[in-house]
């Protein structure tokens, strides 16, 4: 039977790993992810979760152990944040290159120095090119649903790439919200046990991740790109099937589109800023502004066609980045601009760097950004391509 809980985002991630019947969990504590490590330890020691738990001595080892477990044929889960994720970097490449469907919760937190444990998407966005699928969540329900969906997607023989489920530290990890956990039997039928196409098997011995020359390397990398393309097709289908089966709201597949049909200005964002943007859109619509919101849910694979389709009809796009790629602009802005370039009639695009290092981004802030973009569209020119919103000088 489906049950509704009110718990923290970290608790949700732990319950999702349990509901997904992850067989091995290898994890290392780091604020604000630590609660996930503790919740899973509790679930396992109380016998509610039947998994092998490896209390590794570092995040580099957490990912290495996850790779070993996944290669042996077990469904594997881990979680990390910020510096822990950065420390894993080498092994992120290994997990994807070895085509292992590891699922990892990433609780987004600012990178130091200076030390700062508050939300910022810079940690996971700087892992963009590691070959992992990346989802960004905006609610507790979405964290739960996306972890379950992630296993369905990444264990598909056409995908076989690892997945990060990213959500902001404290804003989601440490606040409580209601969410529904579907009936376990129904979940089991949605997500059957993992049947790897190959594994470390003494009856069928193979060399895994051996040396490969330039004769093969390029083709192996192309297959990863193809897998991302396959995932791009699969993600909306799995999200829809999940929503229909469990009578839960669909998260929009690759992106969550809100009030975009007649919009003249679109706010593009990720994570919880995307939820706040919906409130801002409602407020602006009440005062007669035709504004819509696009919350990018899958950053990798990036929803190029969907962004193009939605933005082709609008005058201005305001992209909010809770991160910065130093020497350029916000990472989401780069991707959106790249998608828009093919359009014959491109909207004006502006980037707002906001909320980094945990600074609050309110509905009023988002309204102001949207209005600024609308004003530029009306004037037909942008005064400033990238704005550090609320910056003190």
């Amino acid at each position: 039977m489906a049950r509704t809980f009110v718990e923290t985002g970290s608790h949700v991630a732990g319950l999702a790993a349990q509901a997904a019947r992850a067989q091995v969990v290898a994890a290392y504590p780091i604020t604000p992810q630590t609660a996930i490590v503790e919740i899973i330890a509790d679930l396992i020691s109380s016998g509610k979760m039947k998994s092998q738990y490896i209390c590794v001595e570092s995040e580099h080892s957490a990912m290495a152990a996850s790779i070993g477990a996944s290669a042996s044929g077990a469904r594997t889960f881990t979680a990390t944040s910020s510096h822990g994720l950065a420390y894993m970097h080498e092994m992120l490449h290994w997990a994807s290159g070895a085509r292992l469907p590891v699922v990892m919760a990433v609780v987004n937190r600012a990178m130091g120095p200076p030390w700062n444990i508050l939300p910022d998407l810079g940690d996971s966005l700087s892992q963009r090119d590691t070959g992992w699928l990346q989802f960004y969540c905006s609610s507790h329900q979405e964290i739960f649903d996306t972890i379950i969906q992630a296993y369905r997607i990444c264990e598909d023989a056409k995908v076989l790439l690892p997945v990060m489920i990213c959500f902001e530290g404290f804003v989601l990890s440490h606040t409580s919200m209601p969410f529904t956990v579907p009936d376990q039997e129904a979940l089991d039928s949605f997500l059957p046990s993992y049947r790897p196409g190959w594994k470390l098997d003494v009856e069928n011995p193979m060399g895994h991740s051996t040396l490969a020359s330039s004769d093969y390397y390029m083709e192996l990398r192309y297959l990863m790109q193809e897998a991302m393309d396959n995932a791009r097709e699969l993600i909306p289908l799995v999200d829809r099937e999940y929503a229909d089966k469990f009578r839960l709201p669909c998260h929009g597949g690759l992106l969550d589109e809100y009030a975009c049909n007649d919009a003249e200005t679109i706010v593009v964002s990720m994570g919880t800023i995307g939820s706040e943007a919906k409130v801002a859109v409602q407020n602006l619509r009440e005062t007669g502004h035709k504004v819509g919101s696009v919350r990018v849910r899958a950053f990798r694979p990036f929803p190029v066609d969907e962004v193009k389709r939605i933005c082709s009809k609008v005058d201005a796009v305001a992209v909010i980045d809770r991160a910065i790629s130093f020497g350029m602009e916000g990472q989401l802005f780069t991707e959106v601009q790249s998608a828009l370039y093919d359009l014959e009639d491109r909207p004006l695009a502006m980037n707002f760097i906001a909320g980094i290092g945990g600074r609050d981004v309110t509905e009023k802030d988002i309204e102001s950004m949207a209005l600024q973009a609308a004003k530029c569209a009306k004037e037909g020119r942008i005064d400033q391509r990238v704005t550090w919103y609320g910056l003190r000088r």
């Binding site: 067989q23 091995v24 290898a26 998994s51 092998q52 490896i54 209390c55 590794v56 001595e57 570092s58 580099h60 080892s61 957490a62 290495a64 152990a65 996850s66 790779i67 070993g68 477990a69 996944s70 290669a71 042996s72 044929g73 077990a74 594997t76 080498e90 092994m91 290994w94 470390l200 098997d201 003494v202 069928n204 011995p205 193979m206 060399g207 895994h208 991740s209 051996t210 040396l211 490969a212 020359s213 093969y216």
Partner: protein, 301 residues
């Protein structure tokens, strides 16, 4: 005692692989797998054995091998052990098989973690006393005085004592090995296979290109290492130290050959002065005084 005739004829490493001429890592893999059998999974980080396996789509090993990044042998093996257990698969020996750089330097954290967690696996360090795969750079396991490409004047620090570091982890079984003494070598692998929990085996590997030696002399050099006391074969089983049979005579100082006999055969020690050789001899003699003490007292080093 095992005799070589009793061993399985089945070869789990195939000939024609990519090892160098006179490579006793190749010999060690062969002997180890004869002792462990085909129900073995190898976890191999960046090291000579990543090359010896061959280039895709070929492999010289007839058992499943997980190749993995340099620092991670202990952790990746922990994952394999947990994964098999989670699936209810038993009767498989999981073996981490790493070089000295991958063990005493970059891999020591993951190994220490796996040992401390009581991981049920065998960890093998095959030690050619430098980063051989990248062309002989110094590692923490390079001995005092040895030339490498990053110690062109000879290393000024002694070799890290990894077996004793593992002894400090209070794991059930630690042994040192040499493929020049194949029966001792095989018996130690067989014993390690029977024991549960973390087991650590450390093999000395004479390396012709790195040590600047004649490829035909690798086995002989391994013997000389033992006969001069430069390498000692011992076990630490449940905290009890015991010198192994091939090394036992050399507890007596007079039975040991001069260390010079071993050093002089290697180009990497060619630059040593007679004073430096005398210092190395002194260090070896001191080490053996210590071995005598722990061997008599049957205690953990």
């Amino acid at each position: 005692m095992v005799t070589l005739k009793e061993l399985t004829k089945e070869e789990l490493i195939l000939p024609g692989n990519a090892s160098c001429a006179g490579c006793v890592t190749n010999l060690s893999v062969k002997l180890a797998l004869k002792a462990l059998g085909s129900r073995t999974i190898l976890v191999v980080p960046a090291c000579c054995t990543s090359v010896i396996q061959g280039v895709f789509p070929h492999t010289s090993l007839k058992i499943p091998v997980l190749n993995i990044a340099f620092a991670t042998t202990g952790a990746a093996a922990s994952g394999v052990v947990a994964g098999l257990k989670a699936q209810g698969i038993d009767g498989i020996t999981v073996v981490g098989w790493a070089g000295d750089g991958g063990t005493v330097d970059i891999g020591i954290q993951a190994l220490s973690g796996a040992a401390e967690r009581g991981t049920d696996f065998i960890y093998v360090c095959y030690d050619n006393e430098a980063y051989g795969n990248t062309g002989m750079q110094r590692s923490g396991s390079t001995p005092l005085g040895a030339w490498t490409t990053t110690t062109p004047q000879g290393k000024t620090e002694p070799k890290k004592n990894m077996p004793f570091i593992m002894a400090a982890h209070k794991i059930p079984y630690i042994a040192t090995l040499s493929p020049s003494f194949p029966t001792d070598f095989i018996e130690k692998f067989q014993k390690a296979k029977r024991i549960r929990g973390p087991r650590y085996l450390h093999i000395l590997i004479p390396c012709p290109p790195g040590w600047r030696t004649d490829p035909a002399m690798s086995v002989e050099l391994g013997r000389l290492a033992i006969q001069t006391g430069s390498w000692a074969l011992f076990e630490i089983e449940n905290g009890v130290f015991s010198i192994s049979t091939p090394s036992r005579p050399f507890l007596e100082k007079t039975r040991r050959k001069p260390v010079k006999d071993y050093l002089e055969k290697q180009g990497r020690f060619r630059h040593l002065t007679s004073q430096e050789m005398a210092q190395i001899q002194l260090n070896v003699d001191e080490t053996w005084e210590y071995y005598n003490k722990v061997n008599q007292a049957k205690i953990c080093p």
